[in-house]
């Protein structure tokens, strides 16, 4: 085969592979993704049975343990709207009231049920520490 034709063929194969990869990326990312919502958005529009990624802060006074199930509310970062979450699974060490969390949830009645082991909290190196009190 003459070298110019060979090069064109190689380019064609490479471009086809790149296009296939791009197509697969776009298709799978839209089919496998989870909608990200804040508590206020979730409270207003969540559909039962559908999975969402909930982001916000753990609301004060909302954390309770019932056996292996952790009950807490997630509040908007800026605002007071919150949704109740029941979660079973690994709880990261930094989890506590006021901390930013991300959790995969599904609406079941009035409550949102967290997917097992899907709870993540803000990395501890990035906490904005409260200013210490001068005493």
């Amino acid at each position: 085969m003459d070298p110019a034709r060979k090069r064109t063929l190689r380019l064609g194969v490479a471009l086809t592979a790149a296009l296939l990869l791009a197509g697969a990326l776009i298709y799978t990312s839209f089919t496998a993704s989870t909608e990200a919502k804040t508590p206020s958005e979730l409270a207003a529009s969540a559909l039962p049975g559908r999975s969402y990624e909930l982001t916000g802060r753990v609301a004060a006074g909302s954390v309770h343990q019932e056996g292996r199930t952790l009950l807490f509310s997630v509040q908007d970062r800026k605002g007071s709207a919150s949704v109740p979450v029941s979660y079973t699974g690994e709880v990261p060490d930094p989890f506590r009231v006021g901390r930013e969390v991300i959790v995969q949830v599904r609406r079941e009645g009035d409550r949102f049920v967290g997917a097992p082991d899907s709870l993540t909290t803000k990395c501890p190196s990035k906490f904005k520490a409260a200013p210490p009190k001068a005493y």
């Binding site: 990200a36 079973t88 993540t120 005493y135």
Partner: protein
């Protein structure tokens, strides 16, 4: 001290601005006469900058070591009880301190680069210096105007809030300096690439001069990523080492494109090819390094690693826009200079494999970038934010990783330019044979066959290790034939004289071990979440796990509630101890919640881990404080009432003693009247291979970075000529056989 620190930062900013002006004047006026004088002045500005920032960083460090709580950053990230080692390293746990570390490291590496290569590349260096100083101006601008590390409190605190307990881990303390060294070192080849493109000096000289910096950047970034993974595994209490979080991915992206770059520059050095690709790759790597820093500070993506409520996103976005726009302009406008007359001669050659490996790495980086930024992409396209989880990332990264390991096994065994099928067969027969034998043994002797992708990874890793071993044996034999040395001496001498090559082989071997560890621990992990009382047991992967007894310890810094567990299998018992540490809540006033405050601060897990060559046994406890809540509330009320009658120091001492006794008694309730605790149990095979592989990669990287002994290049070239001669003889004999 704080005033001096601030003044040093302002001086450093002025010095950087002057340096940029001097360098641009030097570039404009030429490499001799006044131009050379201006360029030299700009170079000296970098050294002065490094000196000023070293002093500024030293002041911050001294403030931390002296617990000077008049510094806001010290008060919010350290305390009197913080151990000295962590006081010294707490500086970069804050946004302000980490930015100062970034620009300080940049100034140091820039100085080293200009000392070692600045004089060699007279035309390129002034522009490169100006680019490096422009990065300094950006970060110093942030430090002077937005995130001030030397800000002071109106009234000095008597104690600080302390370093977050989860950061009290040696890996975590070295992880940021390593990552930042990687990021800032990538700025050096980026700056020299810009210099080369601006001055149209696009040969291999700038690559040869800065190759070691690219390698060092890759090395430090890789070590930083691995240290972060180790910290996550042993400290965070979830048992994983990689979560596909946006910021984790952002550190991986420049490492992947950097890996592609340090391979593809070999093709430009040896064959004069891939100039456009190399320029694009190094510019992309530099952009991705800044993007990693940007993601942590912008808040544009929901990441567990992003600084909350940061206002630094906009400046970073402007910098990124300038870098992307400038890079595209330079590559497009210089495409004629970057054109090469050399073509790929054969698909069976080392450069062809490097090219494919580069495409795979670029594809992998693109897939990870796409997944990371998908929330923004989907929002732009559909109006709603969607995010992708670990299963999506695994779907793409696993096949890419398999391909990469295959190419790492094959690539180094093929000759440059054109390998004959005969020589390729000869080089690949033994490694492929080892790979196939490994597969057969695993299928017959173990249950690895139920996870085909992991099985393929084991086979491919065996090909890599077989290939590296074969090259070492062949090289040692050849060395012995030439010098008559004993085998160990011949091996040492071989490696010593070809450090770059054998360092690369060692890195490949380490990566193979690391991938084996990742594949085995991901595919064959057993995990369990159980609630147990003392004396109860559960089963996991054939082990009977018994909660033997609870433990409690009250220290000056924290209260630890834990458990002793026995894992028994086949008559062998492993004892593991895990604790949950409760630190006091330092944000409360001195008499607020006088008892419960000792249980409501930052909690931290001390994982029970027995690491082994074949498997890790890992356990983490979560002790709920629910059963203590009523007691804690009662004691809080009791001691709050008592505070009203505390009048004298003697009464205060009695109050503190009584409160400490109550706190200790409450903690010991866990031992005297234990309740059920939640345990996370993991039995994971070959996790140690990840860390072992990391150490081998580290050693290989050091070997490749170490300067070659004098005269070695000449001998290496002689070796190359000999090999070329052998391959030409193969071609000739093949042609003779054909005719």
């Amino acid at each position: 001290m704080a005033t001096t620190g601030r003044a040093l930062l302002i001086l450093a900013l002025a010095c950087s601005l002057y340096g940029i002006g001097a360098c641009l004047a030097g570039a404009r006026l030429g490499v001799t006469g006044r131009g050379a004088a201006w360029a030299a002045s700009g170079r000296r500005a970098v050294w002065v900058l490094a000196g000023l920032l070293t002093l500024a960083f030293a002041i911050l460090e001294i403030a931390f070591l002296r617990s000077d709580f008049s510094f806001a950053i010290v008060a919010s990230h350290s305390s009197l009880t913080t151990p000295t080692f962590y006081k010294a390293t707490a500086a970069w746990s804050s946004q302000e301190g980490s930015l100062l570390l970034w620009v300080w490291l940049l100034s140091v590496w820039s100085s080293v680069a200009l000392i070692t290569v600045g004089r060699r590349l007279k035309e390129i260096a002034p522009i490169a210096t100006a680019v490096l100083l422009a990065f300094s101006v950006f970060f110093l601008g942030l430090l002077v105007f937005a995130a001030q590390p030397f800000a002071q409190l109106a009234a000095a605190a008597s104690d600080g809030t302390g370093l977050n307990p989860l950061l009290r881990h040696p890996s975590m303390m070295f992880h940021p300096p390593m990552l930042y060294s990687g990021y800032t070192l990538f700025a050096v080849p980026f700056a020299f690439a810009v210099g080369a493109l601006v001055t149209r000096q696009v040969g291999a000289e700038w690559i040869r001069a800065t190759r070691r910096f690219a390698l060092a950047a890759w090395f430090f970034l890789g070590i930083g990523i691995l240290l972060g993974a180790r910290w996550s595994y042993t400290e965070l209490g979830w048992g994983g080492y990689w979560g596909w979080d946006a910021v984790e991915n952002a550190s991986l992206l420049p490492w992947l494109t950097g890996t592609a770059f340090i391979h593809s520059i070999m093709v430009q050095e040896k064959r004069g090819m891939l100039k456009v690709w190399n320029a694009s790759l190094v510019l992309t790597t530099g952009i991705l390094a800044i993007m990693g820093t940007f993601l942590v500070r912008s808040g544009i993506l929901d990441s567990i690693h992003a600084f909350g409520a940061s206002t630094l996103g906009a400046p970073f976005l402007i910098l990124l826009g300038l870098m992307i726009g400038g890079s595209v302009y330079l590559v497009v406008s210089r495409r004629a200079s970057l054109r090469t007359d050399y073509r790929l001669e054969s698909l069976v050659s080392r450069e062809a494999i490097f090219l494919v490996q580069n495409l795979v790495l670029a594809g992998l980086a693109f897939a990870i970038w796409w997944g990371t930024f998908f929330p923004l992409i989907s929002e732009a396209l559909t109006g709603t934010r969607h995010s992708l989880g670990p299963p999506w990332f695994d779907r793409y990264t696993v096949p890419f990783a398999l391909l990469l390991v295959l190419l790492a096994g094959v690539g180094p065994l093929l000759a440059w330019r054109r390998a004959t099928w005969a020589s390729a067969r000869r080089s690949l027969a033994v490694p492929v044979g080892i790979g196939v034998a490994t597969l057969v043994l695993l299928v017959v002797g173990t249950d690895a066959g139920r996870k085909p992708l992991a099985l393929i990874m084991f086979g491919l890793a065996a090909v890599v290790l077989g290939g590296v071993a074969q090259e070492l044996v062949r090289g040692t034999r050849a060395r012995r034939a030439m010098s008559g040395e004993a085998p160990p001496a011949a091996l040492l001498s071989l490696v010593r004289r070809n450090r770059r090559r054998y360092g690369g082989y060692t890195v490949h071997a380490g990566m193979a071990l690391l991938f084996v560890g990742v594949a085995a621990s991901s595919a064959f992990q057993h995990t369990s979440e159980v609630s147990l009382k003392p004396g109860q047991h559960t089963r996991i992967d054939g082990y009977t796990v018994t909660f033997v007894r609870p433990t409690a310890a009250v220290g000056s810094e924290k209260i630890s509630l834990g458990a002793v567990l026995d894992l028994a299998r086949g008559g062998h018992v492993t004892r593991l101890r895990t604790t949950r540490g409760f630190y006091p809540d330092t944000t409360l006033g001195p008499f607020q919640a006088p008892v419960s405050r000792f249980f409501t601060g930052e909690p931290t897990s001390e994982v029970g881990l027995q690491a082994g060559f074949t498997r890790d046994k890992w356990v983490d406890i979560d002790v709920s404080l629910g059963p203590l809540q009523r007691q804690l509330a009662f004691r809080d009320r009791q001691f709050q009432a008592a505070t009203r009658v505390v009048r004298s120091p003697r009464q205060l001492t009695a109050f503190v003693d009584a409160r400490n006794a109550v706190v200790g008694g409450l903690a010991r309730t866990w031992v005297t009247h234990p309740w059920a605790a939640n345990f996370h149990l993991i039995v994971s095979p070959m996790v140690s291979w990840i860390w072992l592989g990391g150490i081998v990669v580290f050693l290989g990287g050091l070997l490749a970075l170490w300067p070659a002994p004098r005269g070695a290049p000449r001998r290496a070239a002689a070796g190359y000529r000999a090999r070329l001669g052998r391959e030409l003889a193969d071609v000739a004999s093949a042609r003779t056989a054909g005719t």
